[in-house]
Symmetry: C2
Subunit: 354 residues, 2 copies
């Protein structure tokens, strides 16, 4: 029934990633270099993840009528997941996060690994530095996976600008996010800009475009994919922001206090600050971004975020975007089966609990 065998794509992508990383670990070990660099990336990837970007890349290829040997496409799709590993590893260093996907983050693991003979501070610094380097390596390896995917010169030349734009967008989004953190404001437009750069383009639009371009898509198809992708991508990040505050750590794999404790400038927070009465304003300004925020204080914040109506407003924004994306599919020229897969992915990405 499915034109895209989603579980099959994930398995093929994982096989490419594991084979690549096993090869790197072996080469490193035989050259007196630390195998832990490749092994850390492998452990990180093995701990979970939806493989959303590779799946969308392959779906974009089908949308554009891609045919023939899928091996180069799968490798290009795997390079997007390797890039994502880079982005998350660095994100966790910058946010000082302790867990991801229910496991210790890469910098935490490496702090433990290099603790012997060092002070706690020195070990922490080595762990953070090692995770920065491992992220850098994952970024370089994502290039290498793409360059050695077996693409034709024409395919490679066509996707390189898309990959460059995708990287730039997510890095600017992360930069806006980081520099807004700790200074939450009622600036909803700025919060939406973070959503668009950090996620909407990076997570949904660009992977679809990259896959479609590998199959030789024309501009009009890319535009149709964008009409679907941008609202879904925004809804995906808005859901993520809600899960960061109201999610269950056992399901999300991340602590549920971090976003509040750091004072992330999300649409949820911006709307709450816009809607809040003076008592609620006081609570928000006192507790958002408070170092050492307790579980009780976090509950108090959650209550205010709900009572101002901000939580429901974000749910409404998600639903409106999902509806917009589904309408885009209805009016598109996409094959019915590909549209069906996109509809399924859109719902899964925006109605999830993890």
């Amino acid at each position: 029934m499915e034109p895209v065998d989603l579980a099959g794509v994930r398995a093929r992508v994982d096989a490419v990633l594991n084979e690549f990383l096993d090869g790197r670990a072996r080469t490193a070990a035989s050259g007196h270099l630390p195998a832990e660099v490749a092994e850390s990336v492998k452990t990180f990837l093995g701990a979970g993840g939806k493989r959303l970007r590779p799946v969308l890349c392959v779906t974009g290829w089908h949308a554009a009528g891609g045919e023939g040997d899928m091996a180069p496409l799968v490798k290009a799709a795997a390079s997007l997941e390797m890039f994502h590993a880079f982005a998350l590893i660095h994100d966790d260093v910058m946010d000082h996060s302790a867990t991801r996907r229910g496991q210790p983050t890469v910098h935490r693991s490496l702090t433990s690994r290099h603790a012997s003979g060092r002070s706690a501070l020195a070990a922490k610094q080595v762990g953070a530095g090692a995770a920065i380097l491992i992220g850098d390596m994952a970024l370089s390896w994502s290039d290498e996976l793409l360059h050695t995917a077996g693409l034709t010169d024409g395919q490679l030349r066509a996707v390189l600008p898309l990959v460059a734009a995708m990287r730039e967008e997510v890095m600017y989004g992360q930069y806006l996010d980081l520099t807004s953190t700790g200074r939450p404001s009622a600036d909803v437009e700025r919060a939406m800009r973070i959503v668009r750069y950090k996620t909407a383009s990076y997570t949904v639009e660009r992977p679809l475009h990259i896959g479609a371009t590998l199959a030789g898509a024309e501009t009009c198809l890319l535009d149709e994919l964008s009409a679907f992708a941008l609202p879904v991508g925004e809804a995906f990040q808005l859901r993520d922001d809600l899960l960061g505050v109201y999610g269950h750590p056992a399901q999300t794999g991340k602590p549920c206090l971090d976003d509040l404790r750091e004072g992330k400038h999300t649409v949820l927070v911006a709307l709450a600050l816009r809607y809040a009465d003076s008592n609620q304003q006081r609570t928000l300004h006192t507790l958002l971004g408070k170092q050492g925020l307790t579980a009780e204080q976090a509950d108090c914040l959650r209550q205010v975020l709900s009572e101002t109506g901000a939580r429901q407003a974000v749910e409404d924004l998600i639903n409106a975007r999902l509806e917009q994306a589904e309408q885009a599919l209805v009016h598109s020229s996409l094959p019915a089966d590909t549209a069906g897969v996109l509809r399924y992915l859109a719902r899964a990405a925006t109605r999830r609990a993890s």
Copy 2:
């Protein structure tokens, strides 16, 4: 007289970098994105640097008889300098360095820029995170400079594996360096491995190979260049290690206590630990990597490093490598004028005070 106009190459490379970064800053500003990302990289590059890698890239091209339009070559050479900016920006974050090229490091500048409305700790974290992202962006931009340099498909395909290898080598070298820091030992072989990966290949051999490959060089020429490049690269890093301990901050642009205070595992230190008597051993083990090392204690360490004979031994290693590199030139088939430039660069890189 010179086949390579060194000052001219530096000026052309800088013009490419400035034009690229000015364009990025303008595009960012017009899209409500922070221009400070591109501006920070521009300020960093403008503060100094020898442009050694671009100069060697262009020299490699001449060595292989490169002819015709030099614009694509200069852009490819500039991409190496952009990559180097990435490496140094991240290096300074990992080492918690305060100054580079006589200026505040990128993370320090950004800490100041984002201090308003934040605690000192929060500002420091934003500064470090922003510098990590700016480094990531510089790495992506180095890709983009290469991909849009105007190379033929054949040239691009030929250099991509060299660029990938170069990146992997320097990252492994940095990883070895970082994880050895704070635990200095008499393991000279490990210290030499750091030198080879972190610098010898990255700084000298790969840039020469990349330039030569763009001109269509055969393997035998690349081997001749390696015979020169590896000893020079090792000597370059050994000189850097000496300058990190004995250099004058006014000339090097960096503090002269950092390497000792962090306990960098250099050949200098490894040899000293090997040669030291029991009194000297005690001093080295007590003071190397000591948090809050004072200027007097650093002087004491310098004295021990000299008295064990380690400092002179490193000078001897540098001279032997310079001699080896010059012999390689004598026995090479390189045009006399290119060999002359390489000889000049080798001396400048190993007999410098900054």
